[in-house]
Symmetry: C2
Subunit: 441 residues, 2 copies
């Protein structure tokens, strides 16, 4: 068992995983000031992925700040004490690299993927953004328009929007229930000073994680990071504890219909799921794979293969520190929505009442096992895993440990978690050409 | 220079590329009956990607067949003489693999990605689909609903749909101008016999290519393919010639407005581009990178970074056997559409008239070089490159050859291709809350 970062002495390096057939060496250094650097070696590739993670996301926002984490993420691309916006992107793109960022409910990540020889450049550019952003008033103002356009774009994609609306139905007017992008009103109300203050408050070394994976040398990444962060690497702060626990109380089951003149009805049926660290997550993963995780899943077979009622139908889970969600999505003709919904309800009730067959359990476990290994073949996936694990998990499982947990799932485990998660009344969110009460029971 | 497949003696294997630092060994075997097997070794990965490519796509369709290539692609998943639909997906998903397919205008591909030890399974399942599909009337009927739902889903994504509408504006009512999915009417009119006849006609060994990349042995892939295709590997047919040349005549510049109650205006401005084998494609690639290929591009900088008018703005090219297209996309507030369009027109005219600066040329070349190398790190990209090259190019360039062609691009090359491709009046397609004549000049 590995020490958590906050217990590791500043200035020291520990080996979290020694490397094996399917995984590289994972090492973590804690720098003075509480900044963590975590890397994984992949000596057979010619590239490297690099990211800086901030332990802040939309669930840290007050209603008055709604959308601030994501707005700030955009603002960091607008210029630093050393680089203009153009220089930030041009330097990485000139060597064929990609630079980008994303904001989630519980973290924010700035990342680049480059040829291995260009890793020093990627470290320098992204560290500069994270430590030296100016958030100039005129830039924050120009970016407001971009974010409003991002919101409008999502409004034009109902199959995407319905997931945000479902989370809102489940978690209500809480930080977890509000959209990551904010709303038109909240974005219009955010001032430059508020954005900049948010940056100064949250982007501090104990709350940041540097992660990298690829053809790299850990000590070199540490040295590059030390140089880039030199001004703030002092003091005896320890890394922040991972974001575990919390207190979101999901609302009771409810039906929410958003009337739109769309071609398809976009439905999500589901309810609260598991928190991220819940040991039952492996059993729920197997369950979700068999219920709606691929073309051989029950929902796909029944709704698409046998009846031809939908093109896209699947189940999914989201995990947060203190709760999660489980949803089933389908897009279908509006006049078939009742039929599709009835099948979804029936399949959900059937697994909740009876679990899976032995054959399904074996298939679901195989699907999860293989998907785990295949999903970690590129540098970006591994970099993502390191950064996210460090911020929001209590331990970084090795690939072998993950596979062992999947192998250990039993029919009883699945039956128990299915009854817990899917046994009660489900919430429903629909976008389509409907009236408010069209789906009342 | 490598022999084209049709000149290679059936029953022989040739080495197309001997392998180098950045690329594996590429070998091709031509089997009796004209079936090609082409593989690339990637000994440092633990997975393999496998695909079977048919040299048929929507541009081979009569108006009465519109959508048949894609409909058939769906139908092949519905069952064979040896497997039910459930067995096709379950066998691959049970080992954690992905199985899928896509239809383009000039080819169709069925593919899977699996752990290397499961490659024999992937070869067996996908070969079974391609050689043993039943296309049963009741299955074709059920799948009709799925395809109609796919069409409806695309109708709900205007930022996607606008590209189809732009191609229609450019190429008119020709096979290249019609949508790959077909239309509601054409799908409703297609009979099972027509679909099955299309299958029997086009899915013949000379018109198929087997491609694979990953931790594999070429001779083993050939042996597996021989076993799976045993019934049809006879006769002296040679592989079909690559699809080169043709006769599509793009329509003159035109403006097309599709009125929809969307949040954003979705615009595409552009015109005919280059055919796939045009040597100027490398210069056009550099031009497109600088004009709208990333965050440092002129369009991104001017429209998003400086003025905050759009979230998504980019340029793109498509290539076909005999022609191509060049387009600039932007999504913005409807009331800003005129302003955004004016900037796009101005930037297009500026590169058409003056080309790039030396600094931009260097950046564009670096972007293309690095992107080429980074884009070939996974098994699926390499498998795709092999299959597509074999069907629609006259030669498979090595990575080093591609990089050399990019390096050779000069300012004059870019200026010449910019004048040719972007120098004339441009076509415009808009989806948004507008009237038919809102964009008339």
């Amino acid at each position: 068992m590995t020490l958590p970062a906050r217990a590791q002495e500043p200035g020291t390096t520990s080996t979290l995983h020694p490397g094996s057939d399917g995984a590289g060496v994972v090492r973590r250094t804690v720098l003075p000031g509480g900044l963590r650097v975590i890397t994984e070696t992949m000596p057979t590739v010619r590239s490297a992925a690099f990211g800086i993670w901030a332990g802040v996301g939309s669930r840290d926002e007050d209603p008055a700040d709604a959308g601030a984490s994501h707005y700030l993420e955009h603002s960091l691309f607008k210029g630093t004490t050393r680089r203009t916006a153009m220089e930030i992107s041009a330097e990485v793109e000139a060597v064929g690299g990609d630079i980008n960022a994303f904001t989630a409910k519980e973290y924010t990540c700035y990342h680049a993927r480059v040829l291995d020889r260009d890793l020093p450049l990627a470290v320098d550019v992204i560290s500069d953004m994270v430590t030296g952003a100016l958030n100039r008033p005129e830039d924050v103002e120009a970016e407001r328009g971009v974010i409003l356009e991002e919101i409008h774009m999502q409004e034009d994609e109902p199959g995407d929007l319905v997931h945000d609306e479902f989370a809102a139905a489940l978690f209500g007017d809480t930080p977890l229930g509000r959209p990551i992008l904010g709303t038109e009103d909240s974005i219009n109300a955010l001032s430059r000073d508020r954005i900049h203050g948010y940056y100064r408050h949250h982007y501090v070394p104990p709350n940041l994680v540097v992660s990298a994976a690829g053809n790299l040398d850990h000590d070199e990444v540490v040295a590059l990071t030390e140089r880039a962060f030199a001004a703030v690497l002092h003091g005896d702060a320890r890394p922040a504890a991972p974001r575990i626990g919390g207190e979101t109380v999901p609302l009771g089951p409810r039906t929410r219909v958003i009337g739109r003149d769309t071609e398809q009805a976009h439905l999500v049926l589901g309810g609260p799921g598991l928190r991220r660290t819940d040991e039952r997550r492996f059993a729920l993963g197997v369950l979700s794979a068999v219920l709606g995780g691929g073309m051989s899943s029950r929902l796909f077979q029944e709704i698409r293969e046998r009846r031809g009622l939908a093109y896209s139908v699947y189940s999914y889970t989201s995990q947060y520190a203190d709760t999660g969600l489980f949803g089933v999505y389908a897009g279908c003709q509006p006049e078939k929505a009742d039929e599709v919904l009835a099948i979804c309800r029936e399949e959900v009730a059937r697994v909740a009442g009876h679990g899976l067959t032995g054959e399904e359990l074996a298939r679901g476990k195989g699907q999860l096992r293989g998907g785990t290994v295949l999903g970690m073949e590129d540098t970006e996936s591994r970099m993502n895993r390191l950064g996210r694990s460090e911020l929001v998990y209590d331990a970084l499982l090795s690939v072998d440990e993950i596979l062992a947990r999947i192998d250990a799932v039993t029919l009883d485990d699945v039956r128990a978690v299915a009854a817990d998660v899917l046994g009660g009344p489900q919430s429903l969110t629909v976008i389509g050409p409907f009236g408010e009460h069209d789906f009342d029971l």
